[in-house]
Symmetry: C2
Subunit: 407 residues, 2 copies
Amino acid sequence: MAVGEALQGPLLPVPGVTIGVACAGIKKPNRRDLVVFQLTEGSSVAGVFTTNAFCAAPVVVAREHLASGEPIRCLVINTGNANAGTGEQGLADARETCARLAALRHLETEQVLPFSTGVIGEYLPMETLANGLPNALATLMADNWSDAAHGIMTTDTRPKGCSRQFEFEGETITVTGIAKGSGMIKPNMATMLGFVATDAPVPQALLQSLLSEANEASFNRITIDSDTSTNDACMLMATGRADVKPVTSAEDPLYRHLLKTVREVMLDLAHALVRDGEGATKFVKVAVEQAASTEEALAVAYTIAHSLLVKTALTASDANWGRILAAVGRSGLKDLDVDAVNIWLDDVQIVENGQRASGYTEAAGAAVCAQEELTIRVSLSRGEVSDRVWTTDLSYEYIRINAEYRT
Amino acid sequence: MAVGEALQGPLLPVPGVTIGVACAGIKKPNRRDLVVFQLTEGSSVAGVFTTNAFCAAPVVVAREHLASGEPIRCLVINTGNANAGTGEQGLADARETCARLAALRHLETEQVLPFSTGVIGEYLPMETLANGLPNALATLMADNWSDAAHGIMTTDTRPKGCSRQFEFEGETITVTGIAKGSGMIKPNMATMLGFVATDAPVPQALLQSLLSEANEASFNRITIDSDTSTNDACMLMATGRADVKPVTSAEDPLYRHLLKTVREVMLDLAHALVRDGEGATKFVKVAVEQAASTEEALAVAYTIAHSLLVKTALTASDANWGRILAAVGRSGLKDLDVDAVNIWLDDVQIVENGQRASGYTEAAGAAVCAQEELTIRVSLSRGEVSDRVWTTDLSYEYIRINAEYRT
């Protein structure tokens, strides 16, 4: 199951980035499960990572290597095994993965960032993984983004990728990204895994602030099951191959253009994760308006998006406004004036001043809920702040996938 | 579906309490849906209510009437309609219900407390309800607790009730209670509806503090789907018919005895709600030890209890310790030392110092998870505080019930 169209259009190469993909047999044979990104000399890399206290070994090591100041030249990603909950052995394995790849490319270990996704709590099969590295490197090509999108999938039913270009001072700048994730999705820094690259020249510190800002408006606004993963990571790579002057500040016009485009690409990827959410049959935007702060807008939005009763009503295409109202009521807002709350499903008002809207008919609500895509919009009449998150319904299929995932 | 044994043993009458039950046809014909409790003169009544900002009209009116100081003599409960999200009309209907019953019993309107449970957002069918009142009153009897337990059910698959007695100064004191609730359960003051009565003599203020304390350890420690209802209410009635000296302070031996017994009855009822949780196939205790505070013990316990990934693993009897670990990691504890975390399934240690326990085998974990009842125990090594909550798994059946409830 998945909602809406799958991957559209080609994924454009980013000058300065080559990608290799192999079937290493980490969990299953004949499945693309090992991906290597290689970056041209002079590239910058920024990253955002999970806030889960039990972050996985590769997250710890990737943070260390990013902080080392060594220029990052390779990223290595495996699926089939998350290398999480694996203690000292897991950290040693993540470092060993980097060291093996570094040796093959004549780099320092710190110039490689490791990423893993899959089952928690099992040690990486190191020899299997290491044996796959030469095969992945043998396929290094600029045109491998689509293969890479396949190579990082786990329970995903389809690959996720997005490309955008913009013109700047006569030069075409490209932004291409891929992502994976379908369950255990309530990113709190980034999604399960996202990799975005551009050929724009951006120094590391500015690239990091650009990524953080784009991430806040994209991956940090989606939830499938409210389970923040141990392995979330989103990386932004800038190769500097485009023939324009490097970004020097956040006020730089190129920075603003690039931020807008990266945010678009990341929002597209974030939406693709939700559309492919485990068992998803609906793609739902929850928008909260007239809140007193971003914090309270998000409290209401996430309470609705996480409510099992709202999610199961959506599965049944049931315009059950009482469940939405109850979710608003328990979202923890201080001194909420319930008589000032209004709620719409798309353009159909279902709640007016805290009760059933006067002109509302079940038929009108049911028509909106029958759609594959809809917006739940809540107005709180408490202030000027709006925010929104995206989520899915909760279907039998979600239970099947997650009850069977390890068995 | 439901876990464990249904209602056991007789529900003992409480001197001073009579109960009437009728089939009023509020939502469906020939179904017990209207219950009246009548209390002898001199009784005290205490209540705890939902914290949902959208509390239902009967909750507002019950609070008003309790606060009025008029001695409460009747409670009237209907199922089939929650009278929530119904605005001014709903408040008028709740008051009218009390007035109609008061007129029949020669009471003041304020001496009656109203309760409703069922679908949100529809107006009460007032004439149908009012026509049922004489029929309910015609059956007033001390021995009607079991009928009443049936009469307050909605999606419950079985009635919930519990009786306990204790001896005090040569007198037998009785505590009997009933409750209903199966979904939209994460009480934050009380469960959907609970009614507990005793013949011990306890003035209202002390009865309220006793109820609050017992409630905190029982209904406030369960969750099925984390959706706090709009109609939660739990009432404790004390008729004073037992021939012992009235309680005069919280240090009074009778207060301590009664608190212990009321807490036992309410915990039994709370467990019965979880066992009958929508689609429940497991009854799961989540115990957190060595926390720095009750707040953080509960944060960890509820994060585990609400995790869809943990709940679906339980459905599959899958000892998926990685999902439990990930839930602990995202529960928001500051400076959590992940290497000091230990987790057990019953007596089988699954996580030792933040990773898979050394002696752990999948077979041992699977054997515990195959049980209908189990305990997930987490030790944080941060302090001396323990607490625990009870919950269920998340099955296909939950989805079916909630996707079909209104259709």
